[in-house]
Point group: C2
């Protein structure tokens, strides 16, 4: 008999089917045992009745959560009052005729059968291969898949070519100390802090490019918003000006979120997440305007700060939602000194730059800028930061041989997932998060220090 | 005036358009200057006539290859005898009314204007940001994009969920010495040799998964087929048996190649590449059968070798093409010892394993196996290889709590690109290839040794 996927059972009422999957819950009603079976297509309730199959009943008594089984059963329509409207297969159930255990599971270290998995974050991560199996945890990554998918679709619609760029580089390319060193044969190499320099080099090749790439930051701090290894979704465009870039940033942000929301409305419902407010017109503020609003509304005077604080971002999120009904707000013109060397200073006021962040529900999810595209200006910018143009020879070659006005942006996949699902810690939005305390297991020396 | 993309000029005959792009060639006919302009949508011929615009003619005399320009011009239909059938815009040309130089290019270190870019590989790579601009070089990566795209499409059609897995791991997970070490805060970490262990851990979460991920191999050798950083396209499936896996392997391989070929037929024509022979039925041979064929046909006795040599792969490619009209051939049952610890031994003959390689035009492009899915059997396999189960705690957790029969495979994106386009060196199929001699620039110490 050929295997039937769980979601297809509803089209096979009164027929015998072969199902395979994991047992998610087992409820023993004495005379009947109810088993919830899960496969990649969904969840279904099965009933084991000793009067129907004594053997199955005996086996079902032994079965525990996460056992892998193969079942032959009859698809029965449930009586109307027993229909489960929250379940795709809620109108049917399986009358078990035969059950075979394919793989046993040890007793779980905690209860996985509840609607929520109420675990502290360290426990959640210590048992990642197990906790990811919980419906609400795995749902996070279904949403993540569609964020990436919608981004890719939008980037392609905009004429971007997908590129695959390296993550090993010869020097700490963007400057700063937060870089991981690698023993590269008998040399020293580094993990790229972003795909930035490579996507820029690709502008004269394809004019518009995108990449989903890993980025590594050795920031020696533990926050709820940062990881040591993240997934970036990057675009870069030639022949643009600053206003076109802002339009592109917002267009990609808007469509990525909207696309993910459309594709995963069942998941958002399950996770009890309200649809985000995504408007056609997204409010735009220069950094100093944003700080002025915070000062006027809340009396907090950050008007001379070179960047937004996390609390500023939260308050601007509230402001944008209240004043513009928008969960997105764009902040522009950060001080030139605060941004990377390749950022174009504002020609009318060079202490500020043609840069931008996109905030979503009170947190930065994307960052970018128009870039310096004149060869000698890039060389000068590198020198001004105390960096050595010798370390950027290949990068500079792209500018030496004809580079138009260009710019782009980078979305953080984990950050977007976190904000869209209102998670409190970015680690929940990474399958296997890396930070200074953990690579899969926690580092023992760190545990000792705690 | 709004910018027109070059490919859209054919719909604007006799109209004035604004074009932006890079100058690819400049031909001075004395009384006329011909310029080929390139943007992300295509290439077009422009004519600068001093009688039409004296200013433009003056500027055009200064223009060189790779200059970035903005042009206002009239779209003229070419006379029939001047139509260029090899060009999408070959029925029209632009009569230049005004030209502005947006960005100059230094004199190129070699001629980029020819139909082919005849450079030695080191030169090609030393000037990567420039050489990638050549039409035939950049075309390689248009094909690469569609290989990845077709793989993704096929994996999704098969019900796989896309996952994003880490590239930093706590131990040299697959064993062996060919691993790059990282200074990870005050700890030692490693770059993953493949996404293998993570995709396996995701089987009990999504049952079927895929990922496009980086893999790192510190092999201290320089061959035409290996890179230190590669892009892998991986699938993993639960509830399978060995024959299903072979079907899935071949299905993904077939559809990925076919999809890429369909989407890039213009590129294959440009690169003078014959369409590969992709049959519905792909020949399958056990390793020992394959070696027997080589012995019988060519007298080369490798019948006791644990693996195919590169020459064996080439000869099997020729055999498959000749005998079965197929550019693909599947080789199965490699010796258990030669494969990674997680490979399932053949239950009927445990010195051979339920493993497979897919060869394409005489070279391995994919590799995989059914995996050991029983918890204690995995622990034993780890110990048998002299590895420490303590280093695999998280991985083993996936098996401790219910793992069905599972398996999968991994395609090398650069390797597939190389074979599909008959490139002689895998470095040509990587935008910025990494090997022991080069990370962008060649390492000076290596140059000295040469």
């Amino acid at each position: 008999m050929e295997r039937t996927l769980i979601r297809d059972t509803t089209a096979k009422i009164n027929k015998e089917v072969l199902l395979k999957g994991w047992i998610k819950t087992r409820r023993d009603h004495g005379n009947l045992i109810f088993l919830d079976l899960y496969d990649r297509s969904g969840l279904i309730q099965m009933v084991v009745n000793p009067k129907v199959s004594g053997d199955s009943y005996k086996i079902a008594q032994e079965i525990k959560t996460e056992f892998v089984v193969e079942v032959i059963g009859k698809v029965n329509k449930r009586p109307k009052n027993a229909v489960n409207k929250n379940l795709l297969t809620g109108e049917v159930e399986i009358e078990v005729l035969k059950i075979i255990i394919l793989s046993k599971a040890e007793t779980l270290p905690f209860d996985m059968g509840g609607e929520d998995l109420n675990l502290e974050l360290p426990t959640l991560l210590d048992h990642r291969p197990l906790t990811l199996r919980h419906l609400k945890i795995k749902s996070i990554f279904e949403v993540q898949e569609f964020i990436a998918d919608s981004f890719r679709k939008k980037a392609k619609d905009l004429g971007c070519t997908e590129i695959f760029v390296p993550t090993i580089s010869a020097s700490a390319t963007e400057g700063g100390a937060d870089v991981f060193g690698i023993d590269y044969y008998s040399h020293r190499a580094y993990l790229t802090q972003s795909p930035q320099l490579y996507k820029q080099m690709m502008v004269p090749v394809f004019e518009r490019v995108f990449t989903i790439a890993k980025a590594y930051r050795a920031e020696p701090s533990v926050t709820t918003r940062h990881l040591s290894e993240v997934t970036q979704m990057d675009c870069e465009f030639g022949f643009i000006d600053f206003n076109m870039l802002l339009d592109l940033l917002e267009d990609v942000g808007r469509e990525t979120i909207k696309g993910a929301v459309e594709k995963t409305s069942h998941v958002l419902k399950l996770l009890n997440i309200e649809k985000p407010k995504i408007k056609t017109k997204i409010p735009r503020l220069a950094l100093r305007e944003a700080q002025e609003i915070i000062y006027k509304k809340l009396g907090r005077d950050n008007r001379n700060e070179p960047d937004l604080s996390p609390q500023d971002e939260i308050d601007l999120g509230i402001w944008a939602e209240k004043e513009h009904g928008s969960d997105l707000v764009t902040i522009t013109h950060f001080p030139t000194k605060k941004r990377a060397f390749y950022t174009m200073p504002d020609p009318t006021k060079s202490e500020y730059s043609l840069s931008y962040d996109l905030l979503f529900k009170g947190s930065e999810i994307a960052s970018g800028s128009q870039r310096i595209n004149d060869y000698s200006a890039v060389v000068k910018a590198i020198k001004d930061r105390g960096l050595n143009p010798k370390d950027f020879e290949m990068y500079l070659m792209a500018f030496k041989y004809g580079m138009p006005q260009e710019g782009g942006f980078s979305f953080g996949l984990e950050r977007m997932t976190m904000k869209l699902l209102s998670l409190t810690n970015i680690r929940e939005a990474s399958l296997y998060p890396r930070d200074m305390e953990r690579v899969d297991e926690r580092f023992s020396s760190v545990s000792k220090k705690d």
